[in-house]
Symmetry: C2
């Protein structure tokens, strides 16, 4: 246990570790009771939470933030109600703890059971999205973990109101209120401290911009789960059904452009482009999409901007899209390999050999054949809850359900076995 | 892909990434052929490898290293043969790749299959143990990965000979020889570079002393699997069968004291100690164990040293053991919680409530009831091969079999699904 620091953050992490002993051994009924009590206290303080949020919004508005930023920061009654519903739904999901994942009896008679147990202490570092405060705290408690929440200073009043309501709920359920703690960052060392709380924090999950995630992975000494950026591609193969291909490309780009599983680059086989390229461009432009195209695409429409090297790399998160005409699937795979963030990649094709090749060669958390990239999330995958979308390969890859917040213990039953 | 550095290590990592595309898509027959060819080249260069090892041993002997160090560094014909056998055994194990771990059909018709795939590029940082060179390279290739090996400068001649033989084998099997590369550390930046090769190295595994592991975890920007220290405890409960308890304690301490799953502290319930403590002490001392005891233990024998705070924390890796008399199981659990490295912990008891409590409260990779801690390894767990023993909670905990070197891809089959 690190003791060289005694910052407030380290002190909170130490208390969290103690609280985690209680929460980790609480029965599923007790954990569900805590969630229900938390929900009730959010209902009790409903108006106060919205007031606190108004206060944060006013400060941000004065600072002249973008509308998108203000929108993410804002809690409406509807959004707060959806958090309450989320907690109710979470209570209905089966308990992810103490499941036997693997069991064997060894020739020497030892019986080995691998059971799921909580990770322990989670640290979440996130931006001005107050829904994350409740979302991740509820997911943590469902899985027997405790949580340290380090949100943005621009949502500090909202987060204080939410955490205070949740702590009252915990108290009412007989849980230590330190199972959910807010890390305030007045001395600006909180992020550093969380990254270095070795032996106290079992996993740190940065949620937000690529810059934030890099900041955490660059310095973290504690284990991290990255929930990274999505520079997702849709590749339209020469054999693609034209209507299906256009529908998928338009959906992947426009259905919700601000999320990580939205499409950022469309790659089109030259054969297909010759016949249907103009229809694709028209369909995208009809949805106000700004196309950054290579010379072949630019030729088709004077509204197409010239694609730069930066565009191929960009996670636009807007109605912009990069578009390139490729000679064949090999060029498409090479392009994806070079620019992909390994999140979600789609091929639209009726050539099963090409699909097989794409599925085998492209390295990503989720690969789609004849479907939009927009399905990469915990709910669409059927997990009932989502912790985030991992873009790393260790522990969990792609959408994270509740099991991502658990680890295992091997419980070994003997009758006096020795190695000698 | 990081390009600001162009050190030799980064260049090798870049080549490894390219080679990994080939190895990841090679069929299991091809991968097994590569392993067999590697085995053959180790046989061809058998004597040259031993000569190179003699050269390393001579240098180390001149430097005046300890006998234990020299022993770990030395390859005997028998040890080299056992590496050959290991490769043969590995070929017999089932393919861990392209297994469907999870499959579901969603209400919208999407079929989601999670299949196991290679991690990609592994980096191993280890000390003067040339067996690790062959062990980990073979495990990497079995699982479709490529590997960068950064061993100790004191085994450089042995590692060069081994890697050169393995590269010839790879070449003979039609594999890129860069699937196995030795990182030499002439400019002393190799470890740093490996830790920072983000986008090139998928996982870094430090194997060796706690100091080495800390050095890696402290600075690594790439994901790490820790294979950490084992400060393992045997707790003898008041109800323990005396013969069984003494056998287990003696075995856990003495059967092979230099390994991480050996026992370092014995905790004894006061009741049991009063009746059987002297027998336990005598049995340990008969095996030349040096006991570092608390006052109650010291009273029993003038050969017992006084246990210090440092002793409770120590992974002795020798015939030393710390011993403490505790009032009850709660004191034992508190002690373990405070000093454990969460590796392997054992309770000897006939009280099922106490066992349940121990299994629930103690946080470790492996918990034993009535068995020695010495069984925490991949072979004893039935994995057929061992990558190491993870003391972290993410990805894999405890003994790592071949699946620990894989990740998953979600392959999603659609028929034109869009989110809108």
């Amino acid at each position: 246990m690190t003791t060289q620091h005694r910052s407030e953050t380290f002190q909170k992490a130490e208390i969290a570790k103690i609280a985690s002993k209680f929460v980790a051994t609480a029965s599923v009924e007790k954990r569900h009771q805590a969630l229900t009590m938390i929900k009730q206290q959010i209902q009790v303080y409903f108006d106060k939470i919205l007031e606190a949020n108004n206060q944060d919004a006013a400060v941000s508005r004065e600072k002249g933030v973008t509308d998108a930023y203000l929108d993410r920061l804002t809690l409406t009654p509807e959004r707060l109600n959806s958090l309450i519903t989320m907690i109710e739904d979470l209570v209905q999901l089966p308990d992810p703890l103490y499941l036997i994942k693997e069991q064997s009896q060894r020739p020497n008679g030892l019986i080995i059971k691998h059971v799921t147990v909580p990770l322990g202490v989670l640290g979440i570092i996130y931006e001005a999205r107050p829904n994350v405060t409740v979302d991740t705290a509820a997911l943590a408690l469902k899985t027997g973990n405790v949580i340290l929440l380090r949100g943005s200073s621009s949502t500090i009043h909202t987060n204080r109101a939410l955490v205070s309501a949740m702590q009252e709920g915990l108290h009412n359920a007989g849980f230590p209120k330190e199972a959910v703690q807010l890390i305030e960052d007045e001395d600006r060392t909180a992020l550093d401290d969380l990254c270095h709380a070795r032996g106290l924090i079992d996993v740190l999950i940065p949620r937000g911009s690529e810059k934030l995630i890099r900041k955490v992975t660059d310095q973290a000494v504690v284990p991290v789960i990255e929930t990274g950026a999505g520079n997702c591609h849709v590749f339209i193969d020469s054999s693609a059904d034209p209507d299906m291909a256009i529908n998928i490309a338009v959906d992947a780009k426009t259905q919700r452009p601000s999320v990580c599983n939205a499409c950022e680059t469309i790659l089109v086989s030259a054969d297909w482009f010759e016949e249907h390229g103009m229809n694709l461009i028209t369909a995208l432009q009809a949805k106000d999409v700004v196309i950054h195209g290579d010379p072949a695409v630019k030729k088709c429409s004077n509204k197409v901007l010239t694609a730069t090297e930066e565009d191929w790399k960009s996670e636009f998160l807007s109605l912009d899209v990069a578009m390139k005409v490729v000679t064949d699937i090999n060029e498409a795979i090479d392009h994806i390999e070079h620019y992909s963030t390994n999140h979600s990649e789609s091929i639209v094709s009726n050539d099963s050999d090409h699909v097989k090749r794409f599925f085998s060669m492209v390295d990503a958390a989720a690969l789609y054949h004849n479907a939009s990239t927009r399905f990469t999330d915990g709910f669409e995958f059927g997990y009932g809850a989502e912790v985030g979308i991992s873009t790393q390969k260790l522990h969990v890859r792609g959408p994270m359900g509740l099991p991502a917040l658990t680890t295992t213990k091997a419980l070994i039953q003997g009758s006096g076995q020795t190695k000698a």
